[in-house]
Symmetry: C2
Subunit: 402 residues, 2 copies
């Protein structure tokens, strides 16, 4: 691959998509633990819900033909043969001329085809006086009305929400098959990089990318596997990459440019990777690398934290989501620019902006400045051939949802 | 409390808010595990970032006064005294007439006040020929430019995002003090209720509310403590409530109406709770109960899964978020109704709706129907004194984000 022949972002995205391995593997997950997981096979309702005719009101289970013509003027007397409450296991029955008291949620006895509201009858010791007729089926939820046995409750590729948990649990489904959560190895590279717990030292930089990438992966539902900091040394980097072959994806940050100490590209070759591109016509993120190690996607992201986060969001995140069959939910919207900007000719720029008073306000303080991202609500996509954009020019903004 | 004197939803919300205990307790959480947690004290930057003057380009660290007037026509020759790379621990210095090669990210040597871009000089074995002047500070990120020591990085009450993780880690903060995640006991009640793993049985209903509430609590960042199913028996219910006193909140579902088998209200009294209200003028959710056990908030929600989820979202969720100092991020928007509706006079109705073609389409199949919620994008808030709303009437919709 020629570093100088930059590809555009859309080509980069299709190349990455093309190299996402087919989804394999499944895990049985209890419904209580499935929230956020992605279902890997359609789930059909095993039973009718409700499984029995269920009273929807407090009242009397009757045969509707008994109450034909009942009214205040011509009430109908029925024998009262017991009461059924929600959870009662006794299977009762109603014959012509009799009724059974039913509480909301109780099983309606065999032989009854309607529930007369309590308010429409007078109750004696062992009789009731019905003062209204009933329609067949009245105030009864028939078996399978809510969910019929065999109905598809959830389709493959759906992410489980609390509401879906309720639907599955209420349908008597206690486990679902889910795609395994992708395990992603995360390396920070650079001889100057030190752990955040270390005191600052001359010429040293605290690792921001490793913790950031791990947090962003966890927020997507993936399992980050932090693999620490690797020095700028080709052999160490190659060994690190090779050791990560058992993961579902690998992300490295820094060391991807063409400087004396940028050994990631060489290390990828040494580790046996196939490099699919090195260099995207975007700012920031130009030196981004994408490779595969056997079939495992490997991303080399820029070292500046803003660049790293930008390329993670735009390029890596869709790939991680695709690894568990999830769609990429990034939202975009259009806003007028709050100020005139000069823009790089020939490279798409992703500029951190805050949305204020309906306008996109640039908040960029340099790719190396961590503070650039904190106020950003999104990245403005500047895709222009002119050298500047004017205040008020409308730009597309990729919105950050975290 | 008088069940018949219903209070309105806003009054219910203020009563709940009034009884949220003051936030106490703190936990030290490593930055890598802090995503989603809420910071309980402002965090100031312990160090300047960068902690040293940092080269922003590959080039030569020089004293700017040496290159005054340098140009192609009048180049300036400097002795080249070594090279500094990112991560080098040797502290170098530059004196008048000398320079040091610096790579991007390297510490700029003492005595140098600017970096001359590599492209603006010719390099010999131990000299360079500078062909351009430099401004003091050029291509150097001064100590503290990104983050000055003492700058507040994050305020109390902020939820940690991946970007904030990067800012904290990059500033050398490896742990933060967070509010403990609220632990919430969840009981389902009802003699008819069985675990989702049980086969269906005559008159029995699979528990949907328990798993749903636990999943929704976990999605908010709380710790659900599933406490199982309690039968409709006042003594068992009272014992269950009393046993949950050690949690930060308690939620029960079902058994809150005024039927023969609705024992939750009595059980709350028996357990020593103070009941603040029983009954809200809303549909669904009228029998909702709120009490405190010592200072622990206790919610009794309706048993129908749609009603339970509606009241959880509107009443309990803000309380759970307040327990960890988080704001309630529920969004609302206005949409025209897709069809004419009859509405209950005098009670605010929350109607599940789907948003399609910019209109609110009712998807309600009954409070007892689990399937009602699956297609819903939100709850339309119907707050009217008339008996119906027309197609095209604009209604407020509380949007569901999960």
């Amino acid at each position: 691959m020629d570093y100088l022949s930059l590809i555009d972002m859309d080509t980069a995205l299709s190349l990455v998509r093309h190299h996402i391995p087919p989804l394999t593997g499944r895990e049985r997950v209890s419904v209580g633990a499935a929230c956020g997981r992605v279902v890997c096979a359609d789930v059909a309702a095993p039973y009718d819900v409700p499984s029995y005719p269920k009273a929807q009101m407090d009242g009397y289970a009757v045969s509707s033909t008994d109450l034909y013509g009942a009214s205040d003027a011509t009430p109908v007397r029925l024998s009262l043969c017991g009461a059924a409450h929600a959870g009662d296991e006794v299977r009762r029955s109603v014959t012509s001329g009799t009724c059974v008291y039913v509480a909301t949620g109780a099983a309606v006895p065999d032989g009854a085809d309607a529930v007369l509201m309590r308010e429409d009858a007078g109750e004696g010791d062992d009789t009731i006086t019905a003062r209204a007729p009933v329609l067949p089926g009245q105030h009864i939820m028939r078996p399978g009305y809510d969910i019929g046995a065999g109905t598809v409750l959830v389709r493959r590729g759906t992410r489980v929400t609390p509401r879906l948990v309720a639907l599955l649990a209420g349908a008597g489904v206690s486990e679902v098959s889910c795609f395994p959560r992708p395990r992603v190895a995360v390396f920070s590279t650079g001889t100057e990089v030190i752990d955040p717990s270390c005191p600052p030292a001359y010429g040293r930089t605290h690792d921001a990318n490793g913790p950031q990438l791990c947090a962003a992966l966890a927020a997507l539902g993936a399992v980050p596997v932090p693999r620490g900091i690797v020095p700028d040394d080709r052999a160490s980097l190659a060994a690190a990459v090779a050791s990560a072959a058992g993961h579902d994806a690998v992300i490295l940050s820094a060391g991807v440019s063409k400087g004396h100490r940028d050994h990631v590209l060489g290390a990828l070759s040494d580790a046996g990777c196939e490099v699919h591109f090195h260099g995207i016509a975007v700012k920031p993120g130009k030196p981004t690398v994408f490779a595969t190690l056997s079939s495992v996607p490997v991303f080399g992201l820029p070292g500046h934290p803003v660049s790293c986060y930008t390329l993670f969001t735009l390029l890596v995140r869709p790939a991680i989501l695709a690894l568990s069959a999830m769609e990429n939910p990034l939202r975009t919207a259009c806003y007028p620019l709050a100020k005139r900007l000069s823009v790089p000719v020939g490279r798409r720029q992703y500029l951190p902006v805050r949305i204020a008073d309906g306008k996109a306000v640039p908040v960029f303080r340099g790719s190396g400045a961590l503070s650039s991202l904190m106020d950003a609500d999104g990245f403005a996509v500047l895709d222009v051939l002119d050298e500047y954009l004017d205040e008020g020019d409308v730009v597309k903004v990729v919105l950050l949802d975290e």
